[in-house]
């Protein structure tokens, strides 16, 4: 994937199409959605939040490619301090690294501090704005007030 292709995936308008059955993990809040892109591609958005450490959460977006799901970006909460000085321990965004205009590896190894969110609700709002996702209000009517009401 080139940087231009990646930018197209991020910027294409997407609409939430359906909730995906997501039952891997009882100890975290867990929701996944399938999205339809205006470019004809399909995407997956997931939300995860640890039930003990509420500040530990992730909102991620994958491209459902013909071969496999390709992670595009993740909006992450706090993991606590890390053993690497250069890696953000506070709220951060993961995105791919690029090498000569091509994506370097599958992992979202480029982690950047992000001060636009401090809760999973704000991270979801940020993800929806940045990745141009519509229709989340249908599943989370109180998202505008910063509330998700998972249960």
């Amino acid at each position: 994937m080139t940087k231009d292709e990646y930018d197209d995936h991020i910027s294409t308008r997407k609409t939430v199409e359906k909730l995906i059955n997501s039952k891997l993990h009882a100890e975290s809040v867990s929701r996944s959605f399938e999205l339809a892109g205006e470019n004809g591609c399909r995407y997956r958005l997931f939300l995860r939040r640890n039930q003990v450490l509420f500040e530990s959460f992730s909102v991620g977006i994958d491209w459902i490619s013909p071969e496999a799901n390709i992670p595009l970006c993740r909006y992450n909460g706090k993991h606590g301090p890390t053993a690497r000085d250069e890696h953000p321990s506070r709220f951060h965004r993961h995105q791919p690294s690029w090498k000569g205009g091509e994506r370097a590896g599958k992992a979202l190894s480029n982690a950047i501090l992000d001060d636009r969110f401090a809760t999973i609700e704000e991270a979801l709002t940020t993800a929806c704005e940045e990745c141009r996702i519509n229709g989340m209000e249908e599943h989370f009517p109180h998202l505008g007030q910063g509330e998700l009401h998972f249960e």
């Binding site: 059955n21 996944s32 992992a107």
Partner: protein, 254 residues
């Protein structure tokens, strides 16, 4: 509790630190990382009732695995259970990996936890390749269409406790069933060979057929190894409707 941190620090060259995330929950800061650079999340958790400590991931490992999989297949779930058990840990019904610890056990429990996290996260690379599924689907459809009298089964597990030896397609036959493997890559090809070898050691009676989509993707070393293990190999999708079906037809009648 600080004596456990001191033990870990002494064993790991002073690379360990800790931070209190909640009363009775201490995060261990250690140089073990996920592929995206995030640190493995391991905690010392005090039981408020008994005062005893346990090592726990607070469910973060399976939460991270769920970035890739919304649900786990029975095979992957069994793999997680095996990994956890082999590393001397337990997984709770809510997905928390944990083990009781004291200063005498904390080091090897901690290393078991780190190893388990790495092994569990490697499951994400088993993300099903949709093209592979399509290829298996093609093989399955060909058998269904041209040999409708045969009873076939997808994702067959010949030995209940060994889901890692799952067969792509089983074709029932009077003497011995056929185990069919569809290989799109060198690793899938080698997996087919290893599975057949293991099943033979476990005294399972079968005939094996590997259908290779593109022989150019198979390394000479693996070719030599697997050729000596399996009963029959067919190359290319074109062979599906010729050599492969002829073999199944002839052998099942024999």
């Amino acid at each position: 509790m600080m004596d456990m941190i001191a033990t870990l620090n002494a064993e790991l060259n002073n690379r360990i630190a800790s931070v209190e995330r909640r009363p009775g929950i201490l995060q261990i800061i250690a140089p073990y990382y996920h592929s995206d650079g995030d640190m493995h999340e391991v905690y010392l958790v005090r039981n408020m009732g008994t005062g005893e400590w346990s090592l726990s991931d607070l469910g973060q490992t399976l939460m991270r695995l769920s970035y890739t999989f919304d649900t786990l297949s029975d095979g992957r779930d069994a793999l997680v259970q095996n990994i956890v058990a082999e590393n001397g840990l337990a997984v709770s019904g809510t997905g928390i990996i944990e083990a009781p610890v004291n200063s005498g056990t904390v080091f090897y429990r901690f290393m078991g936890m780190e190893r388990a996290i790495s092994q569990i996260m490697s499951i994400q690379y088993q993300q099903s390749n949709r093209q592979s599924s399509k290829f298996i689907e093609e093989v399955y459809s060909a058998i269904q269409e041209f040999l409708p009298e045969l009873h076939i089964e997808r994702d067959y597990v010949p030995v209940e406790s060994r889901e890692d030896l799952t067969v792509d397609i089983k074709i029932a036959a009077e003497a011995r069933p056929f185990f069919v493997y569809a290989a799109r890559s060198d690793s899938q090809y080698l997996r087919a060979g290893i599975s057949c070898s293991e099943l033979s050691k476990l005294k399972v009676r079968f005939r094996s057929v590997v259908i290779i989509e593109d022989s150019g993707k198979i390394s000479p070393q693996n070719w030599k190894t697997v050729t000596n293990i399996v009963s029959k190999q067919c190359i290319g999708t074109a062979s599906l409707h010729g050599e492969f079906l002829d073999y199944i037809r002839d052998e099942s009648a024999a």
